[in-house]
Amino acid sequence: MAKLRGRGIAAVNYPTGMNLGGDPSQALIHATTTGNFVVTLSSVDLGQGLRTIMTQITAEVLGIAPEAVMIDTADTDTGPHCMGTFASRTTHRVGNAIIMAATEARKVLLDVAGEELEVAPEDLETDGTGRIVVKGVPGKSISVQDAALAAHFKHGRTISGRGIYLKPRSYPDFETGAMDPDSCQAHACTIAEVEVDTETGDVRVLKLISAYEIGRAINPMMVEQQIVGGSWMGMSHALYETTEPYYPNRAHGPVDFLGYLMPGPADIPEYDAVILERPSTNGPFGAKGIGEMTANSPIPAIANAIFDACGARIDDLPITPEKVLRALDAAALAAQP
């Protein structure tokens, strides 16, 4: 009986979005009288940070401060069309739709500001903090709010924009089977280091080290968050979580957090991640999706590390101490002459 250490590796190529019957998302933007911009979406922020990313993209394209952007999400009765918040697609699809909508809204904003300042709109630039300035003439400017008020009260115009990004449906080629199912792919690799107690079957994950190639990281801090949280969730799927511990017998399944096993703060490994940015050709500012993939590669990496540590090859999740001990017993039996 011993505590054996092992290392395992696994890689993942993850598609950004999918097309099924075509994959559209829309964004609608309008300026309020305060010079804030409301972005109306039907995507949902469920903790992945959609509001932050969409605020950044809107502010960047409009040339205004992030504080002046309001993201209004998730009323599918009244909102524009969105296929949904899944398939790691939102940054790519909705981000592209926002770029289109914000570009249209910016044109109206600069048209109105040009009228007010009596210059051509091409001679204007935004300073990113709420003012529209005549290029090369810092003293000659108008605030975004005054431009919005002028649009409403003097010019009778609506500072707004419509955006849609459509990934068209792709059919497979009958001869070759080739098709175009996604927009781009992100790539990652995880190395897991584990310690297996051959007496109890208990597995401890010591390290989860990952490298991610995800196009442009629109918000690098949130990318790192996603990787660390996904590493934890991957470890949780690999070793702890199941709704049917005695499958196919459904008895004794967990019904609450008391019975549903998850690693707590005392069970976490050392996490580390490297982010490689190779911009995609069709994502907003070169972004790809890094939503769901982060929980993928840790699972086979941990299973491989267990095999490396003790020779138990387990392909049924979660890898419980019971399964480890049974696999070790089977291996010992098979080794007998």
Binding site: L46, G47, Q48, G49, M221, M222, E224, Q225, V228, G229, G230, S231, W232, M233, D256, F257, L258, M262, G264, P265, A266, I268, Y271
Partner: protein
């Protein structure tokens, strides 16, 4: 059983409320006091999202009949902010990106604050133990542990009077 009047202070403010028998403190806080920063997660004491301070001790408000807090001082996440200034723990949670969906955050901060209030420079192991009753499904816990340790380090650099606040 009849409803009864229960008095306590909530974040320094005197409260006297008519409370139905057996009503959980978390419901009183959220529905009768409007203090919705405290989250009702599992409702059975296994997730920690409803953690509040009763007389300085971190407790689960989903397991407490509100009658039992009569005469107590209650502090919720709303009381951690002073004069619209974030607590050092809240600043550390922001800096360490220790929150994602945010549902566990109030409970995490209340559990961590109870620790720092009695042990201003805890070991990593002590932080882990203090957070062990709180579930997070997003962050992988490491950023939260890092935030509590960072907050403790910030407190250590401050004069004692400020740290007590």
């Amino acid at each position: 059983m009849k409803s009864s009047y229960v008095s306590f202070t909530l974040n320094g403010e005197e409260k006297e409320l008519l409370i139905e028998p057996g009503r959980r403190l978390v419901d009183v806080l959220r529905e009768q006091c409007g203090a919705t920063g405290t989250k009702n997660g599992c409702g059975q004491g296994s997730c920690g999202a409803c953690t509040v301070h009763i007389d300085g001790v971190a407790m689960l408000s989903c397991l407490l009949p509100a009658e039992l807090v009569d005469g107590s001082e209650i502090v919720t996440i709303e009381g951690v902010v002073r004069n619209r200034v974030l607590h050092v723990l809240q600043e550390a949670f922001l800096a360490q990106a220790a929150t994602q969906c945010g549902f566990c955050t109030a409970g995490m901060i209340m559990a961590a604050k109870a620790l720092l209030d009695c042990d201003p420079s805890p070991s990593r192991q002590a932080v882990i133990e203090a957070l062990s009753g709180n579930v997070c499904r997003c962050t992988g816990y490491e950023p939260i542990i890092a935030a509590v340790l960072a907050a403790a380090a910030t407190l250590a650099k401050r004069p004692a009077a400020a740290a007590a606040a």
